[in-house]
C-alpha cells in the first residue's frame, strides 16, 4: 500500500501539541517521596565525613541517605556499561565536582532541597587531572583499580588494570605507515582539540522507582530500558523478571539518557524506604551527569606527488571524565574511523579512553564522530591548501568508493560518500566564483564530509500482534524521543501487512510487555529494530495466511484479517502474534592489528557546506548558508528524516560556535542556560537539507539511520570557510568571535595577551 516513503505526520502529534503527551516528568505516585541530591564540591578527594544531622532535623524530611547506607543494601553498589566503576552514591572517594554524595528524601521537593543545603561534607583533597593528554601519565590516578563490566559482546576484551587512567586503548595497524611516510612527497601534521559540552535535553533527567511487592517498577526518561532492567537486576542479585522498566515519551535524549543514569539511585532509595521515590534533576544538575568527550587529536599524513594520501597516523585522546560510561566504546567504535572516508593504504590508529576529574563523558549525537571529523576534515582542507589543489577535487581523488576496504578492512558498501560530496558541491555552486566581500567583511566557503559505523553486535526483538478485528499493535523497546521511530516502525509493519500506518498502535517500552532491544542509540533503531519489525510483520503475515488455510479459504485470495479470524473461530476471537529478532553478523577487531572485515552492518555518511562572513574588526562569524546532505538510504518518512537532518545540523552549530562548559579548578562555572549558550531561533542560518538518493540493501526497505549524520560535517565546514575568508585557521572548538579575533591579531603579528 506504499506505506514506506510516505510523508505522514508523526503518530503522536496530537498529544504533543495539546501538552498531553506522557513524559516521566508528569508522573506522581501515591506516597511518593522526592529526592534531592547533595553533590561533591571538590574534584578529587577522600571522604572524611558527611554531616547530615542538620538536614535530618528539618521538619518534613523522611531521611538522608549516603553511600554507606546503600552499601548495606548492595554489597558492591557500582554500575556502568563498560566498567563497574560508578558508585550509586560516592564511596570513600569523590572523583568530580557534582558527584552525588548523599540524598535527602521528603514528600515536598522544596523541603528536600532546603535540607540538602544543610548537609556538610569534609574531604581530604587530592590532586586532580583535567586534561586528556596529561591523564596519559599515571601521576594522578582517578581509579585505583578498573573493573570491566563484561556485559556487552563488543567490550569483552576490557582489562582490569591498576595504576592507570587509560580505560581502553585501541590500536589499528594497516600497511607500513613509517615506510610510507618516509617515501611520501610531503608529510603534514596537525593537532586539533574539541571542548566539553553537553546534551541539555529540555526534559532534564528524571526517574521514579516504585518498590512494589516483589517487583520493582522503574519509570524513567531513558533510551535503554532493556539495559536498565539487566543492570538493576544484577545490582540486587535478582532475576530480570523482578524488575520492570517503563519509558513513556522522552523530552529529548541525544545520547545522554543511555545506560543507567538515575535508575540505580532511585531504585536503591525506594527499597530502603519502601516507598516510591522520584528524582528530577534541574537544568544545572545536568552539567554534572554526562557530557561530550573533549578530545585531542594528532593527525599526520603523507601525500604523494599525485595528491593521493599514502599514509595517515592518528592519535586520539578521549577525555572520559570520572567514570567510563560508554567512553571505551566511543574510543574503539569511533576510533577506527579516525582517518576519515579516504582510501589510504597505510594507517596507524591509537585511540585512548582516559579517566580525568571532570563530569563523565559518554555518547552525544554522533558517538565521537563529530570530534574526529572536526580534525580530519580541517586537516584535509589544510593539505589541499598546501598542495594548491581545490578541496573538493582533493577529496574526490582520495575518497573511498563502493566496496573498497575502510581502515578497519571492512568494505564500504552502500555508503554514498561521493554522492554526498557532489550534492554539497552542486548546491554551493562550487564551480562558480564566490563574492569574497571587501574591506572589513570577508566571505569564504568550505566543505566537510564524515562517516560512521553502526554498532554491532546487538540484538533487537519485535512483536506484532494482530487482533481478531484486524487492528494491529506493535511492541518494541525502542524509545521515541522525537526522532519518529514509532511512526517509521508503523510504516514498515503496515507496508508488510498491507495496512495503513496510522491504524497501527505502538506500545511504548515496558519490559514486562515489550521485548529486548539493545538501546535507542547510535542511529541504530531504524536499521536494527526496523529490520526486526519487518521480520515480525512477515511472520504475522505468514501466520495469517496459515490461519486462512485452516479456515478453508482459497489460497492466494486476499481476505481481510477480520474475516479470516471470524471464519476460523466462528466469532471475533483469537490473535496472530508475529515475532522476530534481528542480530547482524560481526567480527571483533583482531587483538593485534585492530582489523576486521565485518565491523559494522552499515555505514552512515553525512556532510556539510558553509558560506560564512567574517568581520575582521570583531572576529564575528556569520553563517550565510549551511548546506547539509546525508545518505539515509531510502527514507521511510522523508519529512521526518529531513527534520532529523536539520535538527542535528543546528545542534552541531551550537557545539561549533558557542557551546562550551567552562571549568575553574574542576568547577563548572557556567552551569545554566543563561551562561551556556545553545542555538535559539535567531541563530539558525539559511539552510538547505538534502537526502541524497541511495539504498541500503540490507536495511528495511532500503533504509538506514540518520539521526546523527547531520552533525558530522558542520564544524570543519565552518572552520574551512573561515580560513577561506580571512586566512586564519582555528584548531579548537568552539569558534567564538574572540577566538577568531585572537587568530586575526596573531596573523597580523599583533597577538592579544591571554585573558
Amino acid at each position: 500500500m506504499n506505506q514506506v516513503g510516505r510523508d505522514i505526520p508523526r503518530l503522536e502529534v496530537r498529544a504533543k501539541v495539546t501538552g498531553r503527551a506522557d513524559y516521566t516528568h508528569n508522573l506522581r505516585l501515591p506516597g511518593m517521596l522526592y529526592g534531592k541530591v547533595f553533590r561533591a564540591t571538590v574534584p578529587h578527594g577522600r571522604i572524611r565525613c558527611i554531616e547530615t544531622g542538620a538536614a535530618r532535623a528539618v521538619p518534613g524530611v523522611q531521611c538522608v541517605v549516603t553511600g554507606e547506607d546503600i552499601r548495606k543494601l548492595i554489597a558492591e553498589p557500582y554500575y556502568g556499561p563498560a566498567f563497574h566503576d560508578q558508585p550509586i552514591l560516592a564511596l570513600d572517594k569523590v572523583r568530580h565536582v557534582g558527584e552525588p554524595v548523599a540524598v535527602v528524601l521528603a514528600s515536598d521537593p522544596h523541603v528536600a532541597e532546603h535540607a540538602a543545603q544543610l548537609i556538610d561534607a569534609e574531604y581530604q583533597e587530592l590532586p586532580a587531572v583535567y586534561d586528556e593528554v596529561a591523564a596519559m601519565q599515571p601521576d594522578i590516578v582517578v581509579h585505583d583499580m578498573l573493573k570491566p563490566a563484561g556485559t556487552f559482546a563488543d567490550l569483552k576484551h576490557l582489562k582490569g588494570r591498576t595504576g592507570t587512567n587509560i580505560a581502553l586503548d585501541f590500536h589499528l595497524r594497516r600497511g607500513d605507515v613509517d615506510a610510507a611516510l618516509a617515501r611520501a612527497e610531503r608529510v603534514i601534521e596537525h593537532t586539533f582539540k574539541t571542548q566539553q559540552c553537553l546534551h541539555l535535553a529540555f526534559e532534564p533527567f528524571v526517574a521514579v522507582a516504585d518498590p512494589g511487592d516483589g517487583v520493582l517498577t522503574i519509570h524513567t526518561s531513558n533510551q535503554t530500558p532493556s539495559f536498565v532492567r539487566t543492570e538493576i537486576a544484577r545490582l540486587f542479585g535478582w532475576p530480570e523478571n523482578r524488575v520492570r522498566v517503563k519509558v513513556p515519551y522522552l523530552g529529548g535524549g541525544f545520547g545522554a539518557k543511555v545506560y543507567v543514569k538515575l535508575e540505580a539511585l532511585v531504585s536503591a532509595l525506594a527499597l530502603l524506604v519502601r516507598r516510591p521515590v522520584k528524582i528530577a534533576l534541574t537544568m544545572e544538575e545536568q552539567f554534572y551527569m554526562i557530557t561530550k568527550h573533549p578530545t585531542t587529536f594528532r593527525i599526520k599524513s603523507g601525500v604523494g606527488k599525485d595528491g593521493r594520501v599514502v599514509a595517515r597516523a592518528c592519535e586520539v585522546y578521549w577525555n572520559g571524565g570520572a567514570y567510563a560510561d560508554i567512553g571505551p566504546r566511543v574510543t574503539q567504535k569511533s576510533g577506527f574511523t579516525a582517518p576519515g572516508p579516504y582510501d589510504i593504504e597505510n594507517i596507524n590508529i591509537d585511540s585512548y579512553a582516559l579517566y580525568t576529574n571532570r563530569t563523565p563523558a559518554g555518547a552525544l549525537r554522533g558517538f565521537g564522530i563529530p570530534q574526529l571529523v572536526w580534525a580530519y576534515e580541517s586537516h584535509t582542507d589544510l593539505i589541499a591548501r598546501e598542495l594548491g589543489i581545490d578541496p573538493i577535487d582533493f577529496r574526490r581523488k582520495n575518497i573511498l568508493h563502493q566496496n573498497r576496504p575502510q581502515a578497519s578492512g571492512t568494505p564500504m558498501t552502500d555508503a554514498a560518500i561521493a554522492k554526498v560530496l557532489d550534492a554539497i558541491a552542486a548546491r554551493l555552486a562550487w564551480n562558480k566564483k564566490l563574492d569574497r566581500g571587501s574591506g572589513t567583511v570577508r566571505r569564504g566557503r568550505g566543505v566537510a564530509i564524515g562517516f560512521k559505523a553502526s554498532i554491532s553486535p546487538t540484538t533487537s526483538v519485535a512483536i506484532v500482534n494482530v487482533a481478531a478485528d484486524g487492528s494491529t499493535t506493535l511492541y518494541t523497546s525502542t524509545v521515541d524521543m522525537g526522532q519518529g521511530s514509532d511512526t517509521a516502525f508503523a510504516q514498515i509493519a503496515a507496508e508488510v501487512l498491507d495496512f495503513k500506518a496510522e491504524d497501527i498502535r505502538i506500545v511504548h517500552p515496558d519490559t514486562d510487555v515489550t521485548p529486548y532491544d539493545m538501546g535507542t542509540l547510535g542511529s541504530r533503531s531504524l536499521f536494527h529494530m526496523g529490520n526486526a519489525v519487518r521480520l515480525a510483520a512477515e511472520d504475522a503475515r505468514a501466520k495469517l495466511q496459515a490461519l486462512a488455510a485452516q479456515a478453508g479459504l482459497p489460497e492466494g485470495t486476499n481476505y481481510p484479517p477480520a474475516e479470516v479470524f471470524k471464519k476460523r473461530f466462528g466469532m471475533q476471537a483469537g490473535n496472530v502474534i508475529g515475532a522476530a529478532s534481528f542480530v547482524p553478523t560481526y567480527k571483533s577487531p583482531d587483538a593485534q592489528t585492530g582489523l576486521s572485515d565485518n565491523v559494522t552492518p552499515f555505514w552512515m555518511v553525512g556532510g556539510a557546506g558553509a558560506e560564512v562572513e567574517v568581520d575582521t574588526e570583531t572576529g564575528d562569524v556569520r553563517v550565510l548558508r549551511l548546506v547539509n546532505a546525508v545518505d539515509c538510504g531510502k527514507p521511510i518518512n522523508p519529512g521526518v528524516a529531513r527534520t532529523q537532518l536539520s535538527g542535528a545540523a543546528i545542534m552541531q552549530l551550537g557545539f561549533t560556535l558557542s557551546e562550551a562548559m567552562q571549568l575553574d579548578a574542576g568547577q563548572v562555572t557556567n552551569a545554566s542556560l543563561a551562561d551556556y549558550k545553545i542555538p535559539g531561533i535567531r541563530d539558525v542560518p539559511p539552510m538547505e537539507n538534502e537526502l541524497v538518493e541511495a539504498e541500503q540493501h540490507t536495511g528495511p526497505f532500503g533504509a538506514k539511520g540518520l539521526g546523527e549524520s547531520g552533525t558530522f560535517g558542520v564544524s570543519p565546514a565552518i572552520a574551512n570557510a573561515i580560513h577561506d575568508a580571512v586566512g586564519v585557521r582555528i584548531m579548537e572548538l568552539p569558534i567564538t568571535a574572540e577566538v577568531v579575533f585572537r587568530a586575526l591579531r596573531a596573523q597580523q603579528g599583533r597577538p592579544l595577551e591571554d585573558a
Binding site: 503522536e12 504533543k16 501539541v17 495539546t18 498531553r20 524521543m481 522525537g482 527534520t643
Partner: protein, 152 residues
C-alpha cells in the same frame, strides 16, 4: 503558611490554598495540568509558558499566588471545543517539533504573536519567539508553522 487564591483556570472558577513560595507550574500540576513544564527554571526557555489574563508568562518565575483574581489559560485549553487550534494544526502540518517538550510554549507564544502580528515576517517571528528555545532545533519548521497559521 497557606494562602487561599481564587482564579479562573481554563474557563472554570477555581479556588485552592497554596504556600507563597510555589510557582505557577507547581500550581497547575495540582490540577493535573502538565503542559507547562519547568526546564531551565530561569525564564529562558519558554517550556513553562502560560497565559495569565491573556499575556504569556514564564510559569517557572511566576508565583502561584499572583494569579489570585486572574484568568489562567494553559495549552490544554486550546482544543476545549473539540478541535485543535489553527496554530496547533499548523505545527502538525509543518512537523514543527520532535520531542514535543517545548511545543506547548511555542504554541501559546504563537497565539500571542499572531494577535500582535497577523501577517508576520520571518523577522517578526524570529524576534517574537526568541524567548522560546527548542533543543531539538525544530526552528525552521516552527517558522513555517507560524506562517501557515497566519495564512489560514
Amino acid at each position: 503558611m497557606m494562602r487561599t487564591i481564587n482564579f479562573t483556570l481554563n474557563g472554570q472558577p477555581v479556588s485552592t490554598a497554596i504556600e507563597p513560595h510555589r510557582n505557577l507550574v507547581e500550581l497547575l500540576q495540582r490540577f493535573d495540568l502538565f503542559g507547562a513544564r519547568e526546564s531551565c527554571g530561569q525564564g529562558l526557555c519558554g517550556c513553562c509558558t502560560v497565559l495569565v489574563d491573556d499575556m504569556a508568562v514564564s510559569g517557572c518565575l511566576y508565583f502561584a499566588v499572583w494569579v489570585d483574581g486572574k484568568s489562567v489559560t494553559t495549552v490544554e485549553h486550546l482544543d476545549a471545543e473539540g478541535s485543535l487550534s489553527v496554530v496547533q494544526q499548523a505545527f502538525i502540518d509543518c512537523g514543527a517539533f520532535q520531542c514535543g517538550f517545548c511545543t506547548p510554549g511555542f504554541v501559546l507564544m504563537t497565539h500571542q504573536l499572531l494577535k500582535a502580528y497577523p501577517n508576520p515576517s520571518d523577522d517578526d517571528i524570529r524576534h517574537y519567539l526568541s524567548g522560546n528555545l527548542c533543543r531539538c532545533a525544530a526552528y525552521p519548521e516552527i517558522i513555517e508553522a507560524v506562517k501557515l497559521a497566519a495564512r489560514r
